[in-house]
């Protein structure tokens, strides 16, 4: 799993935020357009693209994109 591609896929779930502004360190919870719907979209994206099931709790416990990436990566093993 390529970290940069993951950041792009992550950013694609947001309607307002500029995709180029996302990095692994982005605190997604602080974004204007963060919402429970964005969380559902991220869960669905990870399922569709990486075939991994993450939960709402996984997202709730995370602050940065990198932390989500790490959770997905750990579930791939």
């Amino acid at each position: 799993m390529e970290p940069q591609k993951f950041v792009e896929n992550f950013a694609a779930q947001f309607e307002e935020s500029d995709p180029s502004s996302f990095s692994p360190e982005t605190k997604f919870r602080d974004l204007e357009d963060w919402s429970s719907f964005a969380a559902l979209s991220i869960i669905a994206m990870v399922d569709e693209i990486y075939n991994i099931k993450i939960t709402g709790d996984d997202i709730r416990k995370s602050n940065t994109v990198k932390e989500i990436f790490n959770i997905v990566e750990s579930k791939m093993k």
Partner: protein, 248 residues
Amino acid sequence: MYNPFSLEGKTILVTGASSGIGRAIAFETSKLGARLIITGRDRERLEKTFDSLNGQGHDRILADLTIDRDLDNLISGIPQLDGLVYSAGITNPVPFQYVTKEKLDKIFNLNFTSAAILTQKLLQKKLIKREASIVFISSVSGIFCSSPGGSIYSATKGAINGLVKGMAIDLSQRLIRVNSVCPGMVETNIYGGGQITEEQLEEDKKRYPLKRYGKPEEIAFAVIYLLSDASKWVTGSNLLIDGGYTLL
């Protein structure tokens, strides 16, 4: 004792009886004298429901209603029925942008198609008595409202709504009644998939005028009404039970 809601002498099939609303329906109807045939997918949890039942003569048949062989096996073990309750249902909250045919098929097959086909097969085998009552567990979703990521689930419940009305007309020839109940969110494990967090559910509860989610038995009580002779002139209806959720 005077009780217009008695189910004494009635044989009733309940699907989805291994958990949630289905389990409560099985338990509560048994307390009113019904003889039950319960079915579900999980052996251990189905046994737990079975052991909770009041009275004698009940039966349980393990089945995944989306598998043809299981369905046929279930039908072969069913006696003549006075009542049927379809409570087997699942959801998979997913934004519409991520809907796939696979996801659609999976949820439709269980929530909608299996109930329709099971009824058809039981009718064909003359296992549904004249004046029987059929009850579908529908939802506020798909009839009155929906929820984020709830498009597929809502669609299955909307489809049930249409099915109920059409079936109610066609089966009225044999005086069989067909109704649904439309619960708001009930305390069950339907969101066990983990997409929705406890915090989100707690927040959602505050949107109910009656300040909480429903309890499974509160849905069972409405089903009891629809199964009993108290509702002999009720067919094709949707009974809304939602703590006031759709008022706002």
